[in-house]
Symmetry: C3
Subunit: 221 residues, 3 copies
């Protein structure tokens, strides 16, 4: 069984903090909705470690971010800071996009390897990894009563994580060391995400095959 | 303690696949929302085995659909197939409605007996069974940011499952064999659901008693 | 380790019943949405013990309200009674607001001490307590596809619970007996909530610091 890939607490908290700041910046678009300070904090908490909570619920194990005082403090603090210093953070937006791409890569690798360590088969393990990476943004949209962003046409976010996590489980199945596989996962997720933002890659919209069902085409009138 | 009623993996996967197809057909109504392929897959996954995930979370046990590679593959594949072949599936709509009624009956019986096997009392066990049957559609509506269909006036869906699961726990309490009780549950859920669609049965809308509070009626003017 | 503060079953069920009635009264505002009887029951169940379910999911333990037949019966019955007798309950609205303030205090104290008993650190324990108190209203709003009320400017609800639960963990850390600390928590939550309703206290809306980023102020024209 693979060991879980883990990162030092400070790196995990940095990732949670980036999530918190991003949640607050996202919430700032909805000034007309009269969110109060608590609402901003809730969005920050959900975005910061909602993915980790979903991951641990699906693994039926202790919710890791609730077993340290730091996660809630960092996520709430980052959200309020993000709200107050919105103008500064918007200026360093490129840096935040890069850090965020790194964050989803890290969450994805941690989630996938943790799921493998809990004995999940390859595909569910990759699924849990993707949900760990993007679950925060799903929870954020649910709480703000918005359409779930990642289900709609837009730049690749969950797809980047899926590329990373499927590669990870493939490499681990092939006998590659879990730390190497996790590093490839982080790099691949980061790369796909950044390239998707740069080149505005997106998935095609839903559409049905329009020709298939007609066995004999109707004559044109 | 009752044993859990279980069905072969292929039957379970068939049910998940029907859920996936239905999720995609449902999503196809919302073309203007610009769902992408991933969005369709997520709706399919949620509709296909969201109920099983909720059931296992409420039972504080391992999430069964995440312990096999097949569920995710079948739900995602069925959703994409449902999207592409929408015109074919729409033509066989009667067949899908019948299979769906069978599916909620099966999920209901599996959920209720699993809850009984985990030691839940009768009423919560029936509740878990209903949620296992209809949880996928609740999750689907949450993710699509729609009002939850089954809370609104419409043909009986959860009520069919509730009739089945309450009958099941009643029969098991009366000492009937769990396989017999589960079969009655499936048949009853199927029957109520199909008859409700045929005859457009629905529950009454919410309304308050308008007369009750007046002890002495006001004289008419 | 602190023992969990617990209350007799009848008091817990009374609190669940108050939640159920409130859920139904809340749902009654949305007559135009065509909620049916099942919808009202679901809102009642979610409002009545949704907080307890979320609490136990976050603690990775058995869902307590599903281990007795009474919770579902009381929550459903209370919701339907609340729907039918809306006119009576609206007249005793002051009494319901007071009972509700007591209810969130009790749920908060029970949730916080249960989390401490499960070994959670102080801040996550307080967080779980707050979620136990207000989770029902979050779930209600999610299911009704409404903006989550407590994230928006309005009278203090979650803040009252947070004041109570943080005081509770502070007192327990300082060596105060858990029953004394829990009683202070209930009283404080109740007090803050009632005063907030009376004096229309609210949290400030989200806003960014507008001056901070300019190191040198632009000269006025």
């Amino acid at each position: 069984m693979a060991a879980a890939f883990s990162i030092p607490l400070w790196a995990d908290l940095l990732a949670v903090g980036i999530g918190g700041v991003q949640g607050a910046l996202f919430a700032a678009q909805f000034r007309d909705r009269r969110l109060d300070l608590l609402g901003v904090a809730i969005v920050g908490i959900a975005t910061g470690f909602g993915g980790g909570v979903l991951r641990d619920i699906l693994l039926s194990t202790d919710i890791a971010p609730l077993h340290s005082n730091w996660y809630l403090v960092v996520a709430t603090g980052a959200a309020l800071l993000g709200m107050l210093l919105e103008r500064i953070f918007v200026r360093v937006n490129v840096g935040i996009t890069l850090l965020d791409a790194l964050t989803i890569g890290l969450f994805c690798a941690i989630g996938t390897t943790k799921a493998l360590a809990f004995g999940l088969p390859e595909i569910p393990a990759a699924f849990v990894g993707v949900l760990a990476a993007v679950g925060g943004s799903i929870l954020r949209d649910l709480l703000l009563n918005l359409p779930i962003a990642l289900m709609h046409v837009g730049s690749l976010y969950a797809v980047a994580a899926a590329a990373g996590s499927l590669t990870l489980v493939g490499l681990v199945s092939a006998g590659v060391d879990v730390y190497v596989a996790a590093s490839v996962c982080v790099a691949l997720t980061f790369g796909v995400r950044v390239l998707a933002v740069l080149f505005k890659w997106s998935l095609p919209e839903q559409r049905a095959l329009s020709r298939l069902p007609r066995i004999r085409p109707r004559p044109r009138r």
